[in-house]
Amino acid sequence: MVFRKAKLLEKDTARLEDKIIELGLVFKKALDLFFGQGNDGFRSCVVRSDSLESEIDRIRKEIEHSLYAGMLIPESRGDLLGLLEALDDVADAIAELILKFDIEEPGLPDELIPRLRKMCVFTTDCIEEMIKAFRSYISSDGQTSVFINKVKFFENEIDSLETSLKREIFSADKHDLAEKLQLQGFVEKTADISDYAEHVCERLAISVIKRSI
């Protein structure tokens, strides 16, 4: 019975990881389409991201319920539940940003698009490394710190891009203050995703230390 529960939890956790990675890829595709002004494809990405975010929520709640109902991994349960909620925050941030693009339809200056694309690429890479770090923690293969360092690298790169984009937005004269604030909002929301990913990795680092015999 306990072995069966463990197998089910393994499957659910793997599904959650896959959905988050998929959401990251949908995010990249959505913004590529938005930057290229391909609105038909972008709309389906919005719908897909919303559906993925709901699925991630559902799977997370199933895992939480299984952990509590089966009294499984009592010594690490609190850490794992915290990690699952932090992963959910990442998924929520991605879905919110895609929806924000859909609702507000910001006019993006051409000179900002290359760096915005780069931010999106780094964000997707950051999410993938975050999931690898989480998988490594679950499988206890001792490689978690390697992936955590990669997440930190991408997060730093995104922070640098965020700063340079904000400087450019506010130094340009062709936008009024409202447009500048709107653009700043999008840049910050994009950078927030990697911040949430870094938060997940901080929790992972502590959980790995706590999980000694």
């Binding site: 072995f3 197998k7 499984l72 010594e75 690490s76 499988s139 206890s140 999980r211 015999i213």
Partner: protein, 349 residues
């Protein structure tokens, strides 16, 4: 028959006290860390205690018999009663105490009252095992801890599967520990009655005889099981957590190490095997499972650097070990006086 049962009742009560107190030494860390439900632990513990008592209890019983061969049922009743009351009193303080030390104190009290000499050789042997027991348990614990740590570092296991394996390991170690507890400690419960055993051998199938001593041990095993179910849950939550914070895997190490020590001091076959290959063997003596667990827990603490051991709790437990045999001996002497002079019952031959 009712008279026999009356005189056996103190042993059964001692068995109940042992179940209430010592079952926690086997399953306390598993139940306390929420890896096993109390009900599962209680069922497995009870089954294996009875098996250990009936089929493995003769070795340690022999040594106690040499300390003091109590030759009347009323005498045996009184010794067991004084030990049971001592253990019960100490159990109410929620500290794990030693039934072995209580019964030894009781036997010495009987020896003093009946003017029977107490063999200093046997006392020395018994006291030596009390010292060796936690030390050996500590050593086993450190060795097993490092082996397990090495295995886990070399073979990464998914955290869910690791949890499942740990639960299974705790259950198996607990079953082994229960068997060892029954085999080693049944002598404490029913050993004082074996000389005056009131039962006759029962012939079963294939010429196998269910001896009077085994019948006594079966009764004692059942009494221990009742103690496990009715009172051990409260004590289970104090073992481990008061002394040192244990992870489930560390809990497994503690149970395995302490169970091995109990087995080593109870197994006549192991003793015979070691002697047959000219290796030194350990005496078969009822030892304290509480001491074994504390030794194992300290071993874990030392293996981890020795920083977080709560020595205050160790001190309280140590006091319990000192007071228990003394209280038991004094109580036994007083009760024997009453049995002989107030109830006019012969307490020695």
């Amino acid at each position: 028959m009712s008279t026999i049962l009356f005189f056996l009742s103190s042993g059964l009560f001692l068995g109940w006290s042992l179940g209430a107190n010592d079952a926690a030494n086997v399953f306390g860390t598993a139940v306390g860390s929420k890896m096993l439900r109390f009900r599962t632990a209680a069922i497995v513990c009870s089954i294996f205690i009875v098996i250990g008592a009936v089929f493995g209890g003769s070795g340690a019983n022999h040594t106690l018999g040499k300390l003091g061969a109590i030759d009347t049922l009323p005498g045996a009743f009184t010794v067991a009663l004084s030990a049971a009351i001592s253990v019960f009193m100490m159990t109410r303080t929620s500290l794990p105490v030693s039934t072995s030390q209580a019964i030894v104190g009781g036997i010495i009290g009987w020896n003093l009252f009946s003017s029977n000499p107490t063999s200093l050789v046997i006392i020395r042997k018994i006291v030596l095992t009390w010292v060796i027991c936690p030390v050996l348990s500590c050593l086993f614990s450190i060795i097993i801890f490092f082996i397990i740590k090495e295995i886990l570092e070399r073979t990464p296991i998914n955290i869910y599967r690791r949890d499942s394996y740990t639960r299974a390991a705790l259950l198996l170690a607990g079953a082994f520990g229960s068997f060892s507890l029954g085999a080693n400690n049944i002598a404490n419960v029913m050993g004082v009655f074996t000389t005056a055993a009131p039962f006759k051998d029962i012939l079963l199938f294939n010429g196998y005889a269910f001896s009077s001593v085994q019948q006594l041990f079966l009764l004692g095993g059942i009494a221990i099981s009742v103690g496990v179910f009715t009172y051990s849950k409260r004590v289970m939550e104090t073992v481990g957590s008061r002394i040192f914070k244990l992870s489930p895997i560390a809990a497994f190490v503690v149970v395995l190490a302490s169970s091995l020590v109990l087995f080593v001091f109870a197994s006549s076959s192991l003793k015979s095997f070691l002697e047959s290959i000219n290796l030194p063997s350990l005496p078969l003596v009822p030892v304290s499972s509480s001491q074994a667990v504390v030794g194992a827990v300290i071993g874990i603490g030392l293996a981890k650097g020795g920083k977080n051991i709560r020595f205050g709790s160790l001190g309280k437990i140590g006091l319990g070990w000192i007071f228990t045999p003394v209280i038991s001996a004094v109580l036994c002497y007083v009760l024997l006086f009453f049995m002989q002079n107030v109830f006019m019952t012969r307490v020695y031959g």
